[in-house]
């Protein structure tokens, strides 16, 4: 049915997964840094965090991808000669894609994390302090485990949006499954078949993610009382 392109597209699917997972890892780190900035008592740090989250969330992913990919390439090739590197540098689309998506979704996650941290009752941190825990220990032992539970619904949402956004990286030349499907479609003149196959692959990825994250949410919500209506 796929005229021998099945394996090629599966190859692309693996790249799509790698891209999504690595970007999410980076986004979590940047999201935590972002929320630390935004909740910081130092005024200009909080302002910086707000600027990051507002500007990134107000600009389409595609524009940011094009800006960071082409702009980054341009910048790299202007700086490299100064460091004694004369060859033209081509940005690796996978590395650039991970950096770009991580940067974009870090902003969205900082928003999710902020909501989750603010939903933890103040008394929790105060109780930790009263036991003589250091503020770092209060953060990691008391706040973070509770924050994870509260952040899971928002995190699930962000993960699904990020998985789908990886398709855009094919526009700057990453050979993910979208790119492979376009090639196969052009070669066989059967675009509908291949794009439908890719759509099905994405649906499998999002469905499995939903199941896994629902399980994790249940695990983290153990012992939480829900209003019985």
């Amino acid at each position: 049915m796929l005229k021998g392109y099945g394996a090629v597209i599966l190859d692309g699917a693996w790249l799509t997964l790698q891209l999504a997972l690595c970007s999410m890892a980076l986004a979590i780190v940047l999201g935590l840094i972002g929320v630390a900035l935004r909740l910081s008592p130092v005024r200009w740090l909080a302002w910086l965090g707000d600027l990051y989250s507002t500007v990134i969330r107000g600009i389409p992913d595609l524009v940011l991808i094009l800006l960071i990919f082409y702009g980054g390439q341009d910048l790299l090739n202007r700086i490299a000669p100064l460091l004694g590197h004369d060859d033209y540098i081509d940005l690796n689309p996978l590395v650039a894609g991970i950096g770009t998506l991580g940067f974009i979704f870090g902003a969205y996650l900082s928003e999710t994390f902020r909501g989750a941290f603010m939903a933890i009752p103040k008394g929790q941190a105060e109780a930790g302090m009263a036991y003589g825990m250091s503020s770092g220990r209060v953060f990691f032992r008391i706040l973070v485990p509770q924050m994870i539970r509260l952040a899971i619904p928002g995190f699930t949402n962000n993960w699904l949006v990020l998985t789908k956004a990886t398709a855009l990286i094919s526009v700057v030349g990453l050979q993910d499954m979208m790119f492979k499907a376009k090639q196969a479609a052009d070669a066989t003149r059967e675009p509908f078949t291949f794009f439908l196959a890719v759509a099905a692959m994405y649906l499998v990825i999002t469905s499995v993610s939903l199941l896994v994250l629902r399980y994790i949410e249940k695990r983290y919500s153990a012992g939480v009382r829900v209003a019985d209506l």
Binding site: I59, P60, L62, L67, G71, L160, L168, F192, T193, T206
Partner: protein, 232 residues
């Protein structure tokens, strides 16, 4: 490194042309998307299992696949079938503008249907009981009680969807349309100035986002003030 303002200034007409295209795409897809979302949202709260399942499958598939794939399926994919190429709809289906609007409208209809369904489900039970107690028929109850209140309560979530759609319209530039992003890609291709080209586009989108947020704040004040926290 310096920012070349001249290039931006000289190409502003191109960006404003793109702005018009972006707004046109946004308005058309939101209008038709909302039109389709209403019946879909009602189907999603239906007690008849197969009706509900039908709408659920639609929203699940649309929300589980990337917008870019949906756009390519419609713009490149449909041409694979001879029946489509020979149908009377072909002049429309071969136009990038029409395909982009169609794909965007389908996409937003799925998300909006879920928003409407969620809002309908969160109707206070008292409102429904009151409508029944007065002896309203089901149709009248939906028309007079459920929909007006549910659509109002959906406003904050719908504003998010509208802003997401604004960002989604940037995909139109991938199928050759010269919207704001398309203008930026043209400028970059011509002058090799990625920062100037895309930062200008980014500023346009940021302004549009702020305007939309403001408009929805006004709309909420007009239609949702009865749910706002009481001011003394």
């Amino acid at each position: 490194m310096i920012f070349d303002y001249n290039v931006v200034w000289e190409n502003l007409p191109l960006y404003f042309g793109g702005l018009l295209i972006t707004l046109k795409l946004l308005a058309l897809s939101l209008f038709f998307g909302l039109l389709a979302a209403l019946p879909l949202g009602l189907m999603r709260v239906s007690k008849i299992a197969w009706v509900n399942l039908l709408a659920w499958s639609y929203t699940y598939v649309i929300r589980g696949t990337p917008m870019l794939v949906q756009l390519f399926l419609i713009y490149y994919g449909l041409a694979q079938f001879e029946a489509v190429r020979e149908s009377i709809l072909w002049p429309w289906l071969s136009s990038a503008t029409f395909c982009a609007c169609l794909a965007f409208a389908i996409n937003t209809s799925a998300y909006t249907a879920e928003i409407i369904a969620g809002s309908l489900k969160s109707t206070p039970p008292g409102e429904i009981e009151a409508a029944r107690a007065i002896g309203m028929s089901k149709a009248k109850m939906y028309r007079r009680i459920l929909l007006p209140s549910a659509l109002r309560r959906a406003l904050p979530q719908y504003s998010n969807e509208v802003i997401m759609m604004l960002q989604t319209t940037s995909l139109a530039s991938i199928v050759t349309l010269i919207d704001i992003t398309g203008a930026a890609r043209t400028v970059n291709a011509q002058f090799y100035l990625p920062f100037e080209a895309y930062i200008t586009a980014g500023v346009f989108y940021l302004c549009l986002t702020f305007i939309l947020v403001k408009l929805f704040k006004l709309a909420e004040r007009r239609w949702l003030s009865y749910l706002a926290p009481r001011k003394h």
